[in-house]
């Protein structure tokens, strides 16, 4: 197709330029962590918030007669955090450092360290971008998703207040290249028009956690939203236009028939009568939150992010909880019978005299400057995140409904399928002893960049609804079992971790331990030792290499590898 053909030389040139810049920016600094300079999260009152959260969960467990799972062991926590915050697993290098650390508050300090690493912004920006601009390519040239994600990544690493980010996305004017936040608007452009409907649906879903998309065409069948409310919201984007100078607000324009200047109004065509009518900007509730001045977009952004608009804080804390756990929580959204409720269709906020988990997290988030890093610290310090994924009732002959209940109530850490980027991030990391990050060798990072894109394409992208549960697919199993990509990583040679384990691990025990620590972030169990050590016994040369490669293969294909636990 032409835009793509046309884009090819540009892309190649772009990649070369990007690589050179990239290489120039980050010289090899093996000792320093790539730490982002930005706002440090405040800690005052965080412990109280965690205690309030835990109180909610534990009193519920008591009421339901639930015994929660044991605490997860520390290495498991390291793997979990690394997958949730960086989209990859810890390297052997990190595992060793972690094990050598015997200071207090270890998990908390390692969480802080991961949040300060720029890999956090990179990974979380891609997650959040899905709800902000979707995954589609959109209109060529005027929409630059890559710029948008880069911008978001920088802002997340700097820990900019979330409400500011939202207002900037919604109101920014200018070109999609120089002002990357404008891509929020240009991502919806279809046939040279800003799509007010799509923008409205996006804002309400992403920022308020409500799906009112259905009301675009008719009153929502099973909810309170009406078409009139949808149109009133959409009218706030009625003066948002774009031209050669970028996204702008156009309040007056010349009427071509009368040749007179008129104010720009939002006009909709009635789907039944095909009559055109002007719709004024109106909000469906909380009119008092609407700023008195500013452009229509400014006012809508002010209304959405108003501190009293509880939907705003509830939506983002629910979504971030989902990212951290890898799935949405039915307990949080108050639908215990739905296994994977959407995070953007939340129940209306209830009475504040009985705050729920979303209210508790939301209030802490708002009162401390809409601080996303602090929010993550609070969530990862709460009981549900610290529990093991094993439970004494999840056994042969156990009651599946009981297990559902344990998961729904946060009494056991849920198994969640890793996202394609996490699978590939984890696989690539197992190919190296050292941590792969901004300090890694250029070639390694380039390999990661290229392979990630190809792998995600073959593995299948989950798109925007990534927090809803999906079982693994056949092509994924085939790709893991037989793909070139995995094969290159597991092949033992002087450049791969498996090769280095073979050549320098020493004893059979040390060799097996190293394999397990690299691939599964744990040591082998007694049974595993019993069965696998004999394979290594008295082997050398190729025979030993093959044993290690085969152990790698088995790790890649185990449920433990591709499901977060």
């Amino acid at each position: 197709m032409k835009p793509k053909l046309f884009a090819l030389p540009l892309t190649v040139a772009g990649v070369v330029v990007a690589l050179v810049t990239w290489a120039a920016q980050s010289p090899q600094m093996p000792t320093a962590l790539p730490v982002s300079a930005g706002r440090t999260p405040t800690t005052d009152g965080a412990d109280e918030t965690v205690a309030k959260l835990n109180q909610q969960f534990t009193s519920n467990w008591e009421a339901e007669g639930i015994t929660p799972a044991q605490a997860a062991d520390e290495l498991q926590m390291l793997r979990r955090l690394s997958l949730s915050l960086h989209g990859t697993i810890p390297s052997l290098e990190e595992v060793r450092q972690f094990e050598a650390d015997d200071g207090p508050d270890k998990i908390k300090r390692w969480t802080d360290r991961m949040l300060a690493d720029t890999r956090f912004g990179d990974y979380f920006a891609e997650r959040l971008a899905r709800s902000f601009v979707g995954v589609e390519g959109g209109a060529f040239i005027i929409y630059r998703r890559d710029r948008f994600v880069d911008w978001l990544s920088d802002e997340l690493n700097a820990n900019r207040p979330y409400d500011e980010l939202v207002r900037q996305m919604m109101t920014e004017e200018g070109l999609w290249t120089g002002k990357p936040a404008t891509n929020f608007v240009t991502s919806t452009i279809n046939e040279n028009e800003v799509d007010e409907n799509k923008l409205t649906a996006r804002c309400v879903r992403a920022f308020l956690g409500q799906r009112i998309d259905c009301a675009q065409c008719h009153d929502h069948p099973f909810d309170v939203w009406t078409q009139k409310q949808f149109e009133g919201l959409a009218a706030h984007f009625g003066q948002t236009q774009f031209s050669a100078v970028g996204v702008e607000n156009e309040t007056r324009e010349k009427n071509e028939e009368t040749d007179k200047e008129e104010s720009v109004e939002y006009v909709v065509e009635d789907r039944e009568t095909l009559e055109k009518r002007v719709v004024a900007p109106v909000v469906p509730f909380g009119e008092e939150w609407l700023p008195k001045s500013g452009s229509r977009r400014d006012r809508l952004a002010g209304w959405i992010t108003h501190p009293e608009n509880r939907r705003f804080e509830r939506a983002i804390v629910c979504r971030v909880w989902g990212y951290v756990f890898g799935k949405s929580s039915s307990y949080l959204v108050g639908q215990p019978y739905e296994p994977d409720p959407p995070v953007d269709d939340l129940p209306a906020p209830g009475d504040l005299s009985e705050p729920d988990v979303l209210d508790i997290l939301g209030a802490d988030f708002r009162e401390h400057g809409y601080d996303l890093k602090r929010l993550i610290q609070v969530i990862t310090a709460s009981r549900p995140f610290l529990l093991a994924s094993t439970h004494s009732e999840d056994i042969d002959g156990g009651d599946p409904e009981r297990v559902d209940q344990l998961i729904a109530q946060g009494a056991v850490f849920p198994l969640t399928r890793l996202r394609p980027e996490q699978v590939i991030g984890a696989m690539i990391q197992t190919g190296s002893i050292k941590t792969i990050d901004q300090n890694s060798h250029l070639v390694v990072r380039f390999l990661r960049f290229v392979s990630e894109n190809n792998f995600v394409k073959e593995y299948g992208d989950l798109g925007e609804d990534e927090l809803q549960e999906h079982a693994g697919t056949l092509p994924q199993a085939l790709l893991r079992m037989n793909g070139n990509f995995g094969d290159n990583i597991l092949t033992a040679n002087p450049f791969t971790a498996s090769g280095r384990i073979v050549s320098s691990a020493g004893s059979d025990e040390a060799c097996l331990d190293a394999c397990f620590l690299v691939g599964l972030s744990r040591r082998p169990t007694f049974d595993e030792r019993e069965q696998l050590l004999p394979l290594l016994k008295d082997t050398k040369g190729d025979a030993r290499k093959h044993v290690v490669e085969d152990i790698y293969w088995s790790m890649f294909n185990s449920p433990e590898f591709s499901w977060n636990h």
Partner: protein, 423 residues
């Protein structure tokens, strides 16, 4: 080329044994393979979509207007259907197209590649709250094939927007084969050594068992092991032969043409023979905003031999009565030729070729304005009418409603069949 002799990672017996043990008897093959041997109208129906990605020009394919202002350099040639002239870029199709029908008045409302492809593959315009399944996904959902060990919905070639399962679920996504006929991609084990293959699986059992402790039901629910077993069954299946073309006589391979698309069409025929329900073969490169004619000359070099050989081959093997073939893209191209000699996107009045599987051949439906002034074609056909026709001949009831994950009941298709196209 792959050698099938070295394919199975595990013996077939091992795999079947595992399956029987798991109570997955539904996955056992051989129950109804006789069905795949049936021919003519007795045979179950399959669907092949030849997807021309980028939006082919109707004027340089099935609806030429030579000698007019909009016609460009394209000439028209007669075909075996006396009522039908097509572009002279398709001399071989001129010999075969009489068994198919041509619609010259397809109308869509989507002029963007992503949105257009979505509409043309699903029959629905992109909607905000849910993703519709493609026609192939619906067919495989509604018409499973017992005894099939390979996927029932396959995409051949590098499709920019491969057919998706949408709200029916990712398991109805088309299984993608990027280089059809050339290699088996991930269907072949990384090691040929049988002993190592066994060791890998044994190790996997060891590691999986420790993971299952205290997670028994949760792990069961991941379907991880079942997916691996299905993959193994597929890797050891003789039906994989369908993806390999080296056993085909040279003459046949030559007829389809030595191109990605030609091999794809040949593999598509082999998949139909094996019993696969829905196949799409993609030919990219139609987005001719510049040098429209030149790029259509190139595309025709792949499309003309492959498409004509496919029809001929299906006919010769008595498979055409049971195989619907549809050749279409996301839209057509403008009658007006732009200053770069290109044609731009044109969603109103574009062409498709459809036939086989109970769809009448020899019809020419609709007409576009030779001056290019009138936008709306005569006798316009909506996308959902086309698909309603295909669903009807394939035996899928489109009046029933499915409850989608968002709780909204949806019909698979909201159009009415084009009765004159049905035999």
């Amino acid at each position: 080329m792959e050698s099938l002799n070295h394919l199975p990672m595990f013996s077939r017996r091992d795999v079947l044994h595992t399956f029987a043990g798991l109570g997955l008897s539904f996955a056992l093959p051989g129950m109804d393979l006789l069905a795949a041997n049936k021919r003519g109208k007795e045979r179950h129906k399959s669907f092949i979509l030849l997807w021309l990605a980028g939006g082919p020009s109707q004027l340089e394919t099935w609806d030429p207007h030579p000698g007019t202002k909009i016609g460009g350099p394209s000439k028209a040639i007669p075909t075996k259907n006396p009522k039908l002239n097509i572009s002279d870029l398709y001399p071989r199709m001129a010999e075969q197209i009489n068994t198919m029908s041509v619609i010259r008045s397809m109308v869509s409302k989507e002029g963007d590649h992503e949105r257009g492809a979505y509409f043309l593959k699903t029959g629905f315009r992109p909607a905000p709250a849910l993703v519709h399944p493609s026609v192939g996904a619906i067919l495989t959902h509604e018409l499973p094939v017992p005894g099939l060990e390979i996927p029932n919905h396959i995409s051949l070639g590098n499709a920019p927007s491969p057919a998706r399962g949408g709200y029916l679920g990712a398991k109805y996504d088309a299984f993608k084969v990027f280089d059809p006929g050339l290699n088996l991609q991930n269907l072949k084990s990384g090691t040929d050594d049988k002993k190592r293959q066994k060791r890998r699986l044994a190790n996997l059992d060891v590691i999986s068992s420790s993971f299952r402790l205290g997670r028994r039901l949760q792990v069961k629910r991941t379907l991880h092991q079942q997916t691996i077993d299905r993959a193994r069954l597929m890797m050891s299946s003789e039906q994989l032969d369908a993806l390999v073309i080296k056993e085909e006589p040279q003459k046949i391979r030559d007829a389809y043409g030595d191109s990605n698309f030609g091999r794809g069409c040949l593999v598509a025929r082999r998949l139909v023979e094996t019993g696969v329900r829905a196949i799409e073969v993609t030919l990219p490169g139609f987005d001719s905003h510049a040098s429209n004619y030149g790029s259509h000359v190139e595309s025709a070099k792949s499309l003309d031999p492959a498409f004509s050989a496919l029809i001929n081959d299906l006919k010769t093997r008595d498979l055409l009565d049971s195989t619907v073939v549809l050749c279409i893209g996301e839209f057509g191209r403008t009658p007006k030729i732009n200053p770069l000699g290109g044609r731009d996107h044109w969603p109103s009045g574009f062409s498709c070729v459809v036939g086989g599987g109970g769809i009448k051949g020899g019809l020419v439906i609709g007409e576009t304005d030779p001056t290019g002034k009138k936008i709306e074609p005569a006798d316009p056909i909506e996308v959902n009418q086309l698909y309603a026709t295909i669903f009807k001949t394939m035996g899928v009831d489109i009046t029933q409603e499915t409850i989608t994950p968002i709780g909204r009941p949806m019909k698979f298709c909201d159009g009415k069949p084009i009765e004159r196209l049905l035999v």
